[in-house]
């Protein structure tokens, strides 16, 4: 028999890419999906890719989803690899979510409150029955309009503040907030960097961690103080102008979890907060983020650090799905040099073991 050394890697790669392109397109008799269709009709996937890709651009996120055949982690990776080549012109001012144009706002802690509860476009009370009508194209009736416009709504936590029952906002850190896309993580990681890591973090990972805190792995006694979704204004201050100008709106989902806190020797019992903020309409992610944010404050608040969600190093080093998928999938790269060295070691260990056993047998 003949042994043919593995050659032609370059041609194999070209062929693989051609096959991939053909597979991505699928049956040519079916109309090709457009980027605009993805941006409009697969919006939740677009939101997730923008969040985990750290880039607010619906068209590019939709393109990435098309290019990755709907593999959302692959799409986030595509978006990030593009984002990293873009020059940074300026930092925006902090967005004012209190001034958000509200599409949805609910609180689980009060039956009613100023501004009211606004359900908005939610799946919450849909019965999860497959809607076979969607399988065929049909026109959708316009949703009824509100009888009066929804105005600005104060945050729930600001309504409680005067009683001192709820911790105040931390004073803004001096200087620019940290940015882990420019500086490697170092510990102790400040909360701004932690929140950035969570906002970019994998939704599934944060969901599992947040869920684990509810099952006793670092309990935080959470209440959904408020969840709001809508459009917030982004402002920048150009140095040559010296005052803020509006450069556009972005869709955000914000979650304020309110958590019981026993108090300490110096601080009376009060409620603390965990915070979640993500691009687009992504309530599950914002809520999970708020749970994990609060769990990671355990040490700061004098609580025992016992559970995975409370271990800042563990959470921050494993929340990034682009890092995680790369390293998990790199196991499919050739490792035969290392495997060969292990083979020799295991063979040697078996020989070492066999020799005394043979002696005993004699």
């Amino acid at each position: 028999m003949a042994y043919v050394a593995v050659k032609g890697g370059e041609r194999a790669i070209d062929n693989a890419h051609a096959w991939l392109a053909e597979t991505r397109r699928g049956n040519p008799d079916v109309p090709e999906i457009g980027v605009a269709q993805i941006a409009e009709q697969i919006g939740r996937a677009v939101d997730r890719v923008m969040g985990e890709g750290s880039l607010f651009d619906r068209e590019l996120a939709a393109l990435a989803i098309k290019q990755s055949q709907g593999d959302l982690i692959e799409a986030a990776f595509l978006l990030r690899a593009y984002r990293t080549t873009l020059p940074r012109f300026i930092h925006s001012e902090p967005v004012d979510t209190a001034g958000m144009a509200i599409r949805r706002r609910i609180s689980a802690t009060f039956k009613d409150l100023p501004g009211g509860q606004i359900l908005g476009p939610t799946y919450d009370y849909t019965h999860r029955l497959l809607d076979f009508a969607l399988a065929s194209e049909a026109t959708v009736a316009a949703a009824p309009e509100a009888s009066h416009p929804v105005g600005e709504m104060a945050h729930v936590h600001s309504l409680l503040r005067h009683e001192g029952l709820l911790e105040n906002d931390e004073p803004a850190a001096a200087g620019e907030p940290g940015d882990l896309t420019r500086q490697p993580l170092s510990f102790p990681a400040p909360r701004d960097v932690r929140l950035q890591a969570l906002a970019r973090g994998d939704e599934g990972f944060l969901l599992a961690l947040g869920y684990s805190t509810q099952r006793g792995w670092g309990g935080t006694h959470p209440f959904a103080g408020e969840i709001r979704m809508g459009e917030a204004v982004v402002e920048i201050i150009p140095p040559e102008l010296g005052f803020p100008i509006d450069i556009g709106d972005i869709t955000l989902t914000e979650c304020q979890m309110i958590n019981q806190f026993k108090g300490s020797k110096t601080v009376p019992a009060q409620f603390t907060r965990g915070y979640g903020l993500v691009f687009g309409h992504s309530e599950r992610k914002a809520m999970a983020m708020a749970l994990v944010d609060r769990a990671m404050r355990a040490e700061e608040l004098g609580e025992d650090v016992t559970a995975p969600a409370q271990n800042i190093e563990f959470v921050l080093y494993h929340s990034d799905n682009v890092e995680g998928t790369g390293f998990t999938e790199h196991l499919k790269l050739p490792h035969y040099v290392d495997f060969q060295s292990e083979l020799e070691t295991v063979r040697r260990m078996r020989r070492d073991m066999a020799a005394p056993m043979a002696e005993v047998a004699q």
Binding site: A5, G8, G9, Q183, F187, L333, P334, V337, Q340
Partner: protein, 296 residues
């Protein structure tokens, strides 16, 4: 490549990486944190090595890329193409002709010389991560040069197995100060790092660390006086070129225990065969048939 800077990275990123590389050379074996960028290859596939190579590469360089010792494995091909596209740089498979060699898992058999640079792709820069997963803790251990944990692990191996049970990524002491992961090269390659004339740079993209060994620097594999370091290779000669001193890949040829041992360093093997060396199961280069015949 249109729309991108020379060697893909922007100049500000290159400056950041270059500063980290200089610190790494000044503190041999110490891991320098750097602002690793997201680049268009997945983490774990050489993103650290690629960033280091992109930061040092110039139009005058000749680049060699190997994976498992071979120039033609798919990831080596892919990375070589990346630089051919983004930096229009000359590439070579000849170890002796290369000015920069990016490698995954091997050091070439041909001795490297003064002026060459070898860039290692590093999946896990922390040599103690299996013993202490917290990088906050291991950083403290490096600061104190407290490597007792690793010595205990090796000692326990000897007590239990009769010898040290690490066969690749075998930890080394650099310049008698820092414990360092040599990247997952076989322990067979470790001695090549000691007093190597070439500059050795290590890039870990996902873990965001760069480290280095300057030329002519002491690199000792950890061992004990009564259990000296013992680099292993398969006890065979290369079936194609007959080399008895090279690291070998074991290739299965059937399901009845048939196997062929061949050099993992393809350039080394091809150079020897071009010089007329023939192994027990090879045929001379240039014989009709094209494929390399191997009887079992």
């Amino acid at each position: 490549m249109k729309g991108y800077n020379f060697a893909y990275l922007d100049e500000q990123t290159k400056r950041m990486i270059r500063r980290a590389i200089l610190k790494a050379v000044a503190i041999p074996g110490h891991q320098i944190p750097f602002g690793s960028r997201e680049i268009p290859l997945p983490y774990g596939w050489g993103t650290g090595g690629i960033q280091v190579t992109a930061a040092i590469l110039g139009a005058d360089d000749r680049l060699k890329v190997i994976d498992q010792g071979a120039d033609d494995t798919t990831n080596a091909v892919s990375i070589r193409r990346f630089f051919a596209r983004t930096a229009d740089v000359a590439t070579t498979t000849k170890t002796a002709d290369a000015t920069v060699i990016q490698t995954r898992h091997r050091i070439p058999e041909t001795a490297l010389r003064d002026g060459q640079i070898i860039v290692y792709q590093v999946p896990q820069p922390e040599p103690m991560y299996r013993l202490e997963p917290s990088r906050v803790e291991t950083r403290r251990m490096h600061a104190l040069a407290d490597y007792g944990l690793m010595h205990v692990k090796l000692y326990e191996d000897i007590a239990r197995l009769g010898h040290i049970g690490i066969s690749y990524d075998y930890p080394v002491m650099v310049n008698a100060r820092y414990l360092m992961a040599p990247s997952p090269i076989p322990a067979f390659d470790n001695p090549k790092m000691h007093m190597m004339p070439a500059l050795q740079l290590f890039g870990a993209g996902r873990e965001k660390r760069i480290y280095a060994v300057p030329p002519y620097t002491e690199v000792r594999s950890l061992d004990f006086v009564d259990h000296p370091f013992h680099p292993a290779r398969a006890p065979h000669a290369c079936g194609l070129c007959g080399a008895g001193d090279s690291y070998l890949d074991e290739v299965l040829t059937d399901d009845r225990g048939g196997r062929l041992f061949v050099c993992s360093d393809t350039d080394y093997c091809e150079t020897r065969r071009a010089d007329g060396q023939v192994g027990a199961e090879g045929v001379p280069v240039g014989m009709p048939g094209g494929a390399v015949e191997a009887t079992q």
